[in-house]
């Protein structure tokens, strides 16, 4: 059986006609303005739960967004703090909650055959150590992590010929590359002949490096060797590489010990 239209279609269409009539008269009546006002006033109280929910949701969103901003700022400040500590040579705090920081590591192996090339430390990937991270002593660059294992890692020393460190001369802003000779010496290269640096000029890592953060102090020029058409600058490292018992590794997150 088909459904019914009780009392026929005509009475059903009356409301439609009434609505059409109202709509047709709408531009000529001035009821639209005050009707909304009256309806808003009357519904003010019943609508209050929705208004309150909307306000709470809005405030929560603002709060969450503010928290995210603060967290990002905190992270930035942590990084800055760790770098500043490194530059000052201050004994740092260990990282504790995943932020960037300095992780203390003990040198547990230094093979005599590669004495000026690399050392092994007792921290590994489980502690947040990553390949390429810089290792410091008293705030001065010691070397860079080259191999990482779960519980230990190898640090290539700045005296190794295999580690080329882009540096900047702090006094003149000249850029060069510091490289070891494998015999305990570090030499500054690629400084133009016409540029004359002085003993005591200090060197820091340069922004042009790929992994090392800029501004880490390396040492100072100790000796200038004049040659035929070249000039070689011998660098005295700030880190005491013959007394290397512990280092600090700049890590980013994941430090657990």
């Amino acid at each position: 059986m088909l459904g019914k239209v009780k009392e026929g279609w005509v009475p059903v269409l009356v409301p439609l006609l009434a609505a059409l009539l109202l709509l047709a008269l709408a531009p000529y009546s001035n009821m639209s303005g005050w009707s909304v006002e009256i309806a808003s006033t009357l519904l003010g109280l019943p609508e209050y739960p929705a208004v309150a929910a909307r306000n709470v949701a809005g405030e929560t969103l603002v709060w969450v967004s503010g928290m995210n901003d603060l967290r990002a700022q905190l992270e930035e400040l942590r990084k800055e703090n760790a770098l500043l500590r490194a530059q000052r040579g201050t004994a740092p705090d260990k990282t504790s909650d995943g932020g960037q920081g300095l992780l203390e590591a003990r040198v547990d192996l230094r093979p005599p055959s590669r004495w000026w090339e690399e050392v092994r430390v007792d921290r590994g990937s489980g502690d947040g150590v990553r390949e390429g991270s810089p290792a410091l002593q008293r705030g001065y660059l010691v070397g860079r992590i080259t191999k990482v294992f779960p519980s230990h890692a190898w640090v290539r020393l700045v005296t190794s010929p295999g580690l080329l460190v882009p540096v900047v001369v702090d006094e003149t802003r000249d850029l060069g590359v510091a490289a070891g000779d494998g015999q305990g010496r570090v030499v500054l290269r690629y400084i133009p002949f016409e540029t004359e640096l002085l003993p005591g000029d200090t060197l820091s890592t340069a922004l042009v490096g790929d992994d090392l953060p800029p501004g880490l102090p390396l040492g100072e020029i100790s000796e200038i060797v004049e040659g035929d058409g070249f000039r070689e600058y011998v660098v005295k490292t700030g880190a005491e590489l013959s007394r290397l018992y512990e280092v600090y590794i700049l890590v980013e997150g994941g430090a657990s010990r």
């Binding site: 459904g3 059903v12 909304v36 609508e47």
Partner: protein
């Protein structure tokens, strides 16, 4: 009472999501539901649709008659189609398709009336329709349950 509750729910949703999304016409969907569950269209139901639409206009659109026309026209169109379908064909799935379709057309007309102002309004319109489909699904569940219990007049 159900009409007041449906209208109030729609009004609360409009207050809560105003500026974020268009809200589905919950009141209209409940009118469809009532029509389908009684399998009859009465002048009373048409006047209820008129009253709900007019109240909405007075509260929100400030164009008295706009929503009232849409609601009553949608009811008449939906009822005309629904009552032409034989008993055996009036299933929950069909109700869902027809109700969501009528709601879509109503929303489309209203959105065009206000002006299709770019991607934002289009996104809001789509969200409105998705919410309407969800709500229609709930009503369909009620309807099929009542059909199963033989509570629906065919």
């Amino acid at each position: 009472m159900i009409w007041v509750a449906a209208w109030y729910l729609q009004d609360l949703a409009q207050v809560a999501f105003s500026g974020i999304s268009l809200v589905p016409d919950i009141f209209l969907l409940v009118v469809f539901f009532r029509l389908a569950s009684k399998s009859a269209i009465t002048p009373g139901l048409a006047w209820i649709a008129f009253a709900g639409g007019l109240a909405w206009d007075l509260r929100w659109t400030a164009i008295p008659g706009l929503t009232a026309v849409l609601y009553v026209a949608a009811l008449v169109g939906f009822g005309w189609l629904w009552l032409r379908i034989p008993d055996s064909g009036r299933t929950g799935q069909l109700f869902m398709i027809m109700a969501a379709g009528a709601h879509f057309l109503t929303g489309l007309v209203r959105t065009f009336t206000w002006g299709f102002g770019g991607e934002t309004i289009l996104a809001m319109f789509l969200i409105q329709q998705l919410l309407a489909v969800t709500f229609t699904g709930v009503l369909t569940l009620f309807l099929t349950t009542r059909m199963g219990e033989g509570d629906v007049r065919r």
